[in-house]
């Protein structure tokens, strides 16, 4: 059995990755969640914390909970899924919404990634393929404007390529923007010295993570 095939069965699953990331979102934070696994973070707010979710299409106070009969095709999130609004929510137009982002008012944004470099560069919008239709959405605005960028991603691509790399080969979304990465295998910080291990998923060995990381991984506390 190859190491790659094993990868699916060890470490954190998607729900656990989201729940681990949720632990690092403090009470009272204003948070924007990207499409995919990041959306799940909202389901795992630890007891006693109140977190306000922003969706860049014009709502502060988004809830993924959708009661039957309350659906409105004009109440959607950035992924164009129907959502609901909490009591105390506010609607606003797109320029005001991105003023919140660009002006540094959103505390944390959790995004997916195609590649993250050891200097915190993020690539998550384009493979650079000439065939693909480029589509960027709000990702570049979010990484440029939000104070803290968290990434949730599988540690490797489906074909086993590392997503944490020395430098990104894909076109960038932003330079030096990522603070912390939550993968299926570990929690890793971007530091001035490079990637630094914060936590290993249960049952995952340091060497196993290192083999799947495209550059140095600092793990002084584990040696």
């Amino acid at each position: 059995m190859s190491a790659i095939a094993l990868a699916a069965s060890i470490g954190w699953d998607r729900e656990q990755m989201a729940s681990r990331a949720a632990l690092d979102i403090p009470d009272g934070a204003y948070v924007n969640l990207g499409i995919g696994i990041p959306e799940k973070v909202a389901q795992y707010v630890p007891e006693g914390r109140e977190v306000i979710y922003h969706t860049e299409n014009g709502l502060l106070g988004m809830s993924a909970t959708l009661e039957a009969g309350q659906e409105d095709p004009e109440l959607i999130n950035a992924g164009k899924k129907q959502v609901s609004a909490i009591p105390g929510a506010a609607y606003f137009h797109h320029a005001d919404s991105f003023a919140m982002i660009r002006g540094g008012h959103i505390d944390i944004c959790v995004l997916g990634a195609m590649q993250v470099s050891q200097t915190g560069d993020l690539a998550n919008w384009s493979t650079g393929s000439v065939d693909a239709i480029p589509a960027v959405g709000g990702a570049m605005d979010l990484v440029a404007g939000v104070k803290t960028i968290y990434i949730i991603t599988q540690h490797c691509t489906r074909t086993g390529e590392p997503k944490l790399v020395g430098s990104c080969s894909f076109p960038l979304t932003g330079k030096a923007v990522v603070s912390r990465i939550f993968t299926d295998l570990a929690v890793i910080d971007v530091t001035p010295q490079g990637f630094k291990l914060v936590e290993l998923a249960p049952g995952v060995e340091l060497d196993y993570v290192r083999q799947r990381t495209g550059c140095e991984l600092i793990a002084d506390d584990w040696q």
């Binding site: 299409n57 014009g58 164009k80 609607y91 797109h94 320029a95 239709i133 480029p134 960027v136 570049m140």
Partner: protein, 236 residues
């Protein structure tokens, strides 16, 4: 007397000319003025430059306008949507141009166009391919890229309620680009779910003051794009 109401969507889009720049409100289907877009298909104006966050889905609304080969260029942030095949086909054939703009930069460019700001600096896209060939300038130790305001000949906007002055309120996240596009167009054309008397909308809650609006048509029961797409509908 000020009365911006017109009787039909055909009258509402009258005068949209070949080559016009047309801002179309909506984020996906939320706020998409689909009846106005269909009237624009009926009108047949060609070589349009269309500004919209996306590029429509299925074969109705904006996707149908593109499919009808009325659009020569799209200015948008995310030209990839579920059920979107029309734009990709034309794009791969080289029959439509794309100006890709980060979503927040797109919103701010539209707001700047409406507010008389010809250009502004933003940190968005610095160091990425989308900032290539753009002026970069440092303020207080950080790099920013120069972006230009965006104006249009026409805006097509959907709202919930309107009075004859053109004062508008919106529904939930259907607000999105409507208020800023209404500001940025020479002629702003609005479809409203309901008309109300002047004074019925509290002066404190008006989102788009009438000064930004030129024509209003009532579409009491607008269709939903997703339902049309699910039903396999096409336009015309």
């Amino acid at each position: 007397m000020i009365d911006k109401r017109v009787d039909s969507v055909a009258q509402a889009v009258d005068g949209i000319f070949n080559g016009a720049t047309v801002m179309i409100g909506g984020f996906g289907e939320a706020g998409s003025p689909i009846e106005l877009i269909h009237a624009l298909i009926d009108l047949g104006a060609k070589d349009l430059i269309v500004v919209n966050n996306n590029n429509g889905s299925g074969h109705v609304g904006l996707a149908a306008l593109i499919e009808n080969e009325q659009v020569s260029k799209m200015i948008c942030s995310f030209p990839r949507t579920a059920n979107s095949t029309v734009f990709p086909d034309l794009y791969h054939r080289g029959d439509i141009e794309l100006e890709l703009v980060p979503q927040g930069t797109l919103a701010e460019r539209i707001r700047a166009g409406g507010a008389g700001i010809p250009a502004f600096y933003t940190a968005t896209a610095v160091g990425t391919p989308l900032a290539e060939a753009k002026e970069v300038r440092n303020f207080d130790g950080r790099d920013y890229v120069l972006e230009q305001g965006l104006k249009a000949d026409f805006a097509l906007v959907k709202c919930a309620r309107a009075d004859r002055y053109g004062n508008l309120v919106y529904n939930k996240t259907a607000r999105n680009f409507g208020p800023i596009m209404a500001m940025a167009a020479n002629t702003t054309i609005v479809q409203t779910g309901a008309q109300v008397e002047v004074g019925e909308i509290d002066a404190e809650i008006i989102v788009t003051p009438g000064i930004f609006v030129d024509r209003i048509v009532t579409v009491a029961n607008p269709v939903h794009e997703s339902r049309l797409v699910n039903d396999g509908r096409t336009y015309p």
